[in-house]
């Protein structure tokens, strides 16, 4: 069918070589680095990077299978974007805070968040840090410096600007790394966040993962310009475009961006070019809009960026850090799959928290109307227990339970006055 429209297309596919703003890359598809000054990561870090990327890919695959088996409700896949999170995690310091969009799970794995905790978060079980209140995959982990994630696109960009401003005025050697996709860069919050950060001076590193698709919207329908990075000239902040399947380039650019942020006390923008290999999420089906014709048009771009794991593997082989990267992939992959299965079983068997937890943490205390509603619900469930899935949820603590005696003592929750968790 011929497309009927009168809008002119400004370049159908942005290839790595053909854009106006150059894209920074250090390593080619065969793992040859163009200059040794780009090799800033040492052997243990590189091996860890490789292992985490393989773990991410395998655990994604298992999670998608678990969704097909109806064991989890929702999941985001990170196919071909595994390099972004861990490489940035390797180049920033442990004290730096992270504001996620939703497709950067690798940085959580880098910082020590285990697959067990990820699975519990996805299910919302009793071992979930948010106690089942937050939507699946909505991480909020103070112990590794990750701010709460939320589904509305672009709303966290302003949060990153604010956090960076706090770090500057409190004279701390920390930055706020704020992730977003190229779709989020169309939101009004993007303009507000970047303008605030640049004008007021925030120690923020904005990272835009341009992966060619926002659900079904390709970049032709998202913007008419040359990507997202050139907009920063208007905001007055330095910007760079980086090849997203080249972990060395991402790490090098991030390290220098961090130095730049601390020197000029202002934000820096990094646009990372990648490709969303899988569906947007488990509720999406990419072949509906990524037909054979579309993929044929994208082929030059995909051939140019390649696969991040294979590129890094070939580089490690060339350097002699790994004997055979395929063997390492197999080994680490099998270990990741075994861990997934083990914790998936545990996840299935862990009940959800008790239903009373849904009334907690609306405010810092429990207001009167919520107390009345809790009583109403308790009385209702007592009257009609057969209609509610009480076996899936943890039982209410009885007074004779020893652990409950500790639980009924005044909890820090009600006395908490500060707005941030103490370990943040």
């Amino acid at each position: 069918t011929t497309e009927i429209y009168t809008r002119s297309i400004v370049g159908s596919v942005r290839c790595v070589q053909e854009t106006g703003f150059p894209i920074f890359r250090t390593m080619d598809l065969e793992g040859n680095v163009s200059d040794s000054k780009y090799e800033i990561l040492d052997k243990p870090t590189l091996i860890k990077l490789f292992d985490i990327m393989v773990t991410e890919r395998e655990s994604d695959r298992i999670a998608l299978n678990m969704h097909r088996q109806n064991r989890i409700t929702f999941y985001f896949s990170h196919l071909y974007e595994e390099a972004v999170g861990p490489a940035i995690g390797a180049a920033i310091k442990d004290e730096d805070k992270i504001v996620l969009q939703y497709r950067e799970q690798g940085i959580l794995l880098w910082r020590g968040f285990s697959i067990q905790e990820i699975l519990h978060t996805v299910k919302g079980s009793n071992k979930d840090h948010a106690k089942g209140k937050a939507l699946a995959c909505h991480y909020s982990i103070p112990k590794i410096g990750v701010l709460p994630l939320s589904a509305p696109i672009g709303s966290k960009i302003g949060h990153g600007a604010g956090l960076g401003y706090a770090f500057r005025t409190q004279k701390e050697d920390k930055i706020a790394v704020t992730f977003m996709g190229e779709g989020a860069a169309s939101q009004g919050d993007f303009h507000a966040g970047l303008n605030f950060a640049a004008t007021l001076g925030s120690q923020t590193l904005f990272v835009c993962r341009n992966n060619c698709y926002a659900i079904s919207t390709p970049i032709e329908d998202q913007y008419a310009g040359d990507g997202v990075a050139p907009r920063c000239i208007g905001y007055g902040m330095p910007a760079i475009k980086v090849d997203g399947c080249d972990p060395l380039a991402i790490a090098y650019a991030t390290k220098h961006a961090r130095q730049m942020i601390m020197e000029r006390k202002g934000p820096v923008f990094m646009e990372v070019y990648g490709y969303r290999g899988g569906d947007h999420s488990t509720s999406d089906s990419a072949p509906l809009y990524r037909t054979k014709e579309v993929l044929a048009k994208l082929k030059p771009y995909l051939d140019a960026i390649g696969d991040p794991i294979i590129r890094l593997g070939k580089y490690l082989e060339k350097k002699g850090y790994l004997a055979n990267y395929k063997e390492q992939m197999d080994k680490v992959g099998k270990a990741a799959v075994a861990e997934c299965h083990k914790y998936a079983k545990e996840m299935d068997e862990t009940p959800y928290p008790e239903y009373k937890t849904m009334f907690e943490d609306v405010y810092s205390y429990t207001p009167q109307n919520l107390k009345e509603q809790i009583e109403q619900l308790d009385a209702h469930i007592k009257k009609y227990p057969e209609f509610y899935p009480l076996s899936d949820f943890k039982k209410k603590q009885s007074l004779f339970n020893l652990t409950c005696l500790l639980y009924t003592s005044p909890s820090p929750r009600d006395q908490r006055g500060s707005r941030m968790p103490s370990s943040a």
């Binding site: 069918t1 497309e3 009927i4 429209y5 009168t6 809008r7 088996q69 109806n70 064991r71 989890i72 409700t73 929702f74 299910k123 919302g124 079980s125 089942g132 209140k133 937050a134 939507l135 699946a136 909505h138 939320s150 589904a151 509305p152 696109i153 672009g154 779709g183 169309s186 939101q187 009004g188 926002a214 659900i215 079904s216 919207t217 329908d221 998202q222 913007y223 509720s283 509906l288 299935d348 068997e349 959800y352 928290p353 239903y355 937890t357 849904m358 009334f359 609306v362 207001p367 109307n369 919520l370 509603q373 619900l377 209702h380 469930i381 009609y384 209609f387 509610y388 899935p389 899936d392």
Partner: protein
């Protein structure tokens, strides 16, 4: 192995499947279900016939089985065909929409009229206001009701006030914004919200919520052609669940009128959208106890049709309102206040609101959070029992028991009667 307990079990099932060469569906045990569900729906037929009092059809026999999703596609198709100056757009609309409501429209009408927008709700509604100022009709789509808030300023400050602040010289009547809203089972905060209460406070907007495909198509066509801007909320859980024989022709259902779905004399049940199903199931449960319920579907939330509600409450004397949104300042609060104002002397019990709790929409606790048929049934019984307390109060006053001590007698009497009823 995952699903199977022993290897023998797995081999048994797989060999049986292979031998019969049929697809064997493995029923997952309860512990392996992805999310918990509240009370199971009753086995009831929710499909309805066309209400001939409201809808005058030219070909009443030309019907097609559609769900809400398909009836909306059909309505958009008719709107685009009948008015060449109509535009359908939003995020991911071109390939058919994430809920598959705009399938085939881009291929039929072209990318100038059915297109994707960049990812910005604020932009979508701002863009719409300008688009209709040139005389066209705009049907933007907001993908989830939870993401309507960046567009809140445009709705409240621009769309709603355009006609008022220009004394009618300009208006945004060409806008009909379609929003997928409501609980879906595993949606959590950001895929289940019901934002109609936030907009109810804004004069100038119209909000319409259908309950089944026949209503959806008629109400959508009426909203698109309405001279006032309309926000059309579609309950996403019913997109595929609700099926009917829908007329294939172009028909409209009048806006700003509520519909009485079922007549009754004991209690009036009021709801909209997906809650109407819960009301119908609760009414069936109440029928077994001998309570005749009257069910009203509000359809247009703002401006709401109070005449129908008043007529019904004057007849029955009891009102129960339900919606998924939180109870404080929800739509039910406004209707309850107005009912008490106008129908106080006819009422036998205070207005009962069975709504969500005052928390953000929880993820795994949805079965406990939502107002389901069991809670509504409980509410109906509470309303019916209230008469008892009034009568006891009157009786105690007749035998000259002083006022302060009456509640003690009443509560004891109610307690004894309930105990007797339970044993």
């Amino acid at each position: 192995m995952g699903l199977f307990k022993t290897k023998e079990d797995m081999l048994k099932v797989l060999t049986r499947a292979a031998s019969k060469q049929v697809y064997t569906r493995v029923l997952l045990p309860k512990s392996l279900r992805a999310f918990s569900a509240g009370p199971a729906p009753l086995k009831m037929d929710f499909s309805e016939k066309v209400n001939t009092n409201e809808i005058k059809l030219k070909n009443p026999t030309k019907l097609k089985k559609m769900n809400i999703c398909q009836s909306i596609t059909n309505a958009l198709d008719i709107a685009l065909a009948t008015n060449p100056n109509t535009f359908v757009y939003g995020e991911d609309v071109k390939f058919g929409g994430v809920f598959r409501c705009t399938v085939g429209l881009n291929e039929k009408y072209g990318t100038d009229r059915v297109f994707n927008t960049p990812l910005s709700e604020q932009g979508i509604i701002g863009f719409s206001v300008g688009l209709v100022a040139a005389g066209g009709v705009a049907i933007p789509e907001i993908q989830f009701g939870d993401y309507i808030f960046p567009a809140f300023d445009q709705f409240v400050n621009e769309v709603a006030k355009y006609r008022y602040r220009t004394n009618g010289l300009f208006n945004t009547g060409g806008i009909c914004c379609r929003v997928a809203y409501g609980a879906v089972g595993h949606g959590g905060h950001y895929h289940s919200q019901t934002p109609e209460a936030h907009f109810m406070h804004t004069a100038g907007l119209t909000m319409v919520i259908p309950r089944n495909p026949i209503q959806a198509k008629g109400l959508l066509l009426a909203s698109i052609r309405s001279p006032d801007p309309v926000i059309f909320f579609e309950p996403k859980i019913l997109y595929r669940m609700s099926e009917d024989m829908v007329p294939e022709e172009d028909y409209e259902i009048p806006l700003r009128k509520a519909e009485v779905i079922k007549e009754g004399k004991d209690v009036t049940l009021l709801g909209y959208g997906a809650s109407v199903r819960q009301l119908q199931m609760a009414a069936k449960m109440a029928e077994e106890k001998g309570i005749a319920c009257e069910i009203i579907d509000l359809r247009t939330i703002l401006p709401y049709d109070f005449e129908t509600i008043e007529k019904s409450v004057n007849k029955t004397g009891r009102l129960l309102i339900t919606h998924e949104a939180p109870i404080t300042s929800g739509a039910a609060a406004e209707i309850a206040a107005k009912t008490i104002e106008k129908c106080f002397l006819h009422m036998k019990a205070p207005v009962k609101r069975v709504c969500g709790y005052d928390t953000p929409f929880p993820f795994v606790y949805e079965p406990f959070y939502l107002p389901n048929r069991v809670k509504i049934f409980d509410g109906i019984q509470e309303l019916m029992a209230y008469q008892l307390e009034l009568l006891l109060n009157q009786w105690l006053s007749l035998i000259h028991i002083s006022e302060p001590t009456r509640p003690l007698y009443i509560s004891y009497a109610v307690f004894c009667l309930k105990k007797k009823k339970n044993t």
